[in-house]
């Protein structure tokens, strides 16, 4: 369970975000404006923050910049009705760790929070293990059941991303954003075929694939 601060002025949106985080087993607290949000974030220990870009009083961009000035390194997911790519860049430059445009799918919001939490936990990880796979982040090598497997650069990044977020469903969109670094919808099949290629290299006969397809949602690394 993680402590998450929801800084959101709209009551209905805040309630929906908190309910979704609660469903994922997190403890969510709310601040309804920028000033009280900054106050709470600096006073209490949170594991992650969801931050509305437009807030009464202190706006989201200034708030996250103030947090970083005070060396508060809590991961921040910025939520905004502004979809312009420049706005996304501005949000990330100010110190946000991820940026999601409204209206969003609440499950995807929760998934992005999980990604941020995992990244924090595993920042120091050198080798990721699971499902019989050993992924060495320093040597950039992969072993399946102790046997070395040659992966292409993007295949390695895809596997690393899924393993880092083990147990969480990752949508095609977030996979495309985090692995390839592009912020557009790549279409339904593109990520599927990359996953299929990766599976061909890491799956072993007689054992279910560690990468599961969650129909209509995305992919999940189990193991």
């Amino acid at each position: 369970m993680a402590a998450i601060l929801v800084i959101e002025d709209d009551d209905a949106t805040a309630a929906a975000i908190m309910a979704e985080l609660d469903r994922h087993g997190h403890d969510a607290s709310r601040a309804a404006d920028g000033d009280s949000g900054l106050d709470l974030a600096t006073r209490e220990a949170f594991d992650a923050i969801t931050l509305d870009r437009m807030l009464p009083g202190l706006d989201g961009l200034t708030l996250v910049a103030r947090l970083r000035e005070r060396h508060v390194t809590i991961p921040v997911l910025m939520l905004s009705a502004l979809s312009d790519v420049d706005e996304r860049i501005a949000g990330l430059r100010a110190g946000g760790d991820d940026y999601l445009t409204k209206p969003f799918d609440f499950a995807e919001m929760a998934m992005r929070v999980e990604v941020l939490l995992r990244r924090r936990e595993q920042a120091e990880a050198v080798v990721l293990r699971g499902g019989g796979i050993e992924c060495d982040l320093v040597r950039r090598t992969v072993k399946v059941d102790g046997e070395p497997v040659r992966l292409l650069h993007m295949e390695f990044r895809l596997l690393e991303f899924l393993m880092r977020n083990r147990g969480e469903v990752m949508t095609r969109r977030i996979i495309f954003e985090r692995v390839w670094g592009y912020y557009f919808d790549p279409g339904a099949n593109l990520i599927s075929v990359h996953i299929a290629r990766l599976r061909k290299k890491i799956d072993r006969p007689g054992r279910p694939s560690p990468i599961l397809t969650v129909k209509g949602e995305g992919y999940l690394f189990e193991g």
């Binding site: 979809s83 790519v85 420049d86 592009y182 279409g187 593109l190």
Partner: protein
Amino acid sequence: MLGAVFVIGLIAMLGVVYAATARDLTARSDRILHAAAQRLLQVPADQLPDRIRYELRRDRAGFNYLSLIAADGTPVVGNIRLLRPLPPGLPVDVEGGSRGPLRLVALHTREGETLLVGRDISLLRDLRRTILETLIVSGLLTLLCVTTAAIWFSRAPLRRVRALQRASREIAAGDFSVRMPIAGRHDELDQFATTVNATVEEVGRVVAQVKGATDAIAHDLRTPLTRVRATLNALHHRPHDAVEVTAGIRQATADLDLVLERFAALLRISELEAGRRRAGFRTIDLGILVAQVAELYEPLAEDRGITLSVATRPWAVDGDDKLLFEALSNLLDNGIKFGRPGGRVAIALVEDAQGRAIEVRDDGPGIATGERDAVLRRFHRGQDMQDIPGSGLGLSLVVAILHLHGFRLSLSDAAPGLCVRISLPPASA
């Protein structure tokens, strides 16, 4: 304004000519008066009255006036009298009653008498009046000629200005097909008209797109929204059927997702068309970009049994790599999606007689000539493509990205299949 300056200048010039001429004539007359007076002052005092009488007798025409007045003011001899004393040595004009105007100078003799020497200046006055009249008449004639010439010569430019005004009124009324007339003289008016025409063309293009988009939005967003409304209405009337409620909510969510997806795409297009994204421009290598896009789509092509071939070379262009990647991804995705299963798709940087370009070719069914323009319009879906997923906004997005870069997209027959060509402007190639 120019006319007023000309008239003022003309009046000033003629005034100066008149004043200079009048001053010169008066100065000549004064010199004659002084010479005559000096001559008489040389005559011994006792002979002076006789000399004056002699001079007066000799002047049959009666132009000259002479008088000698004693120191006590008594007239000694002469044909003029003074009503008031004159400053000595300074010629003055005297309106001489029946005699007409005089120019008169008074000088003192050594014996204290006053010698008056005068000349009739009627002729001088007549001459000055004649000069003034001549100058006024010639001035008026000049003015008339110049005004006539100005009207004559400005008729053509005025006609052009009126034509420009007419065109601008029609454009302001919303007719963006109208263009400012260009005379082909390469003058300021032509330069102005060319600039305005380019602006009108761009505004017309944007307005047409906005109108097209508005129509398309009204049509295409209405469909899923109507479906959502119908679903909710049905749920409202049958609230106890849990299976139907779940299915209805899922359907409504899917329909709303489609609406949101289309909105998001439309917003991106308008951002791009507003030209605000040039901030991300830098020098990029198109060759590397094309190779990366091909690498991303190669598994998808393989999945459909399509052979994807890539031909790149290092080409530096100014652009936004993320946006160009998105545009090229879209084209390659279309090529693979609409190409022939088991066929070929090629992405290549080409340089030929038409210049440098990026080409994406497939050997699928292609697009009929009549439908090629339509596919670039928003929300357009091809006749046989209704069961293939997509919002119908992909190519509009590609066009918007390419337009931002100054690149041009054209569709042609690859016989068989479709050839999408992105032409690069010579400057950025």
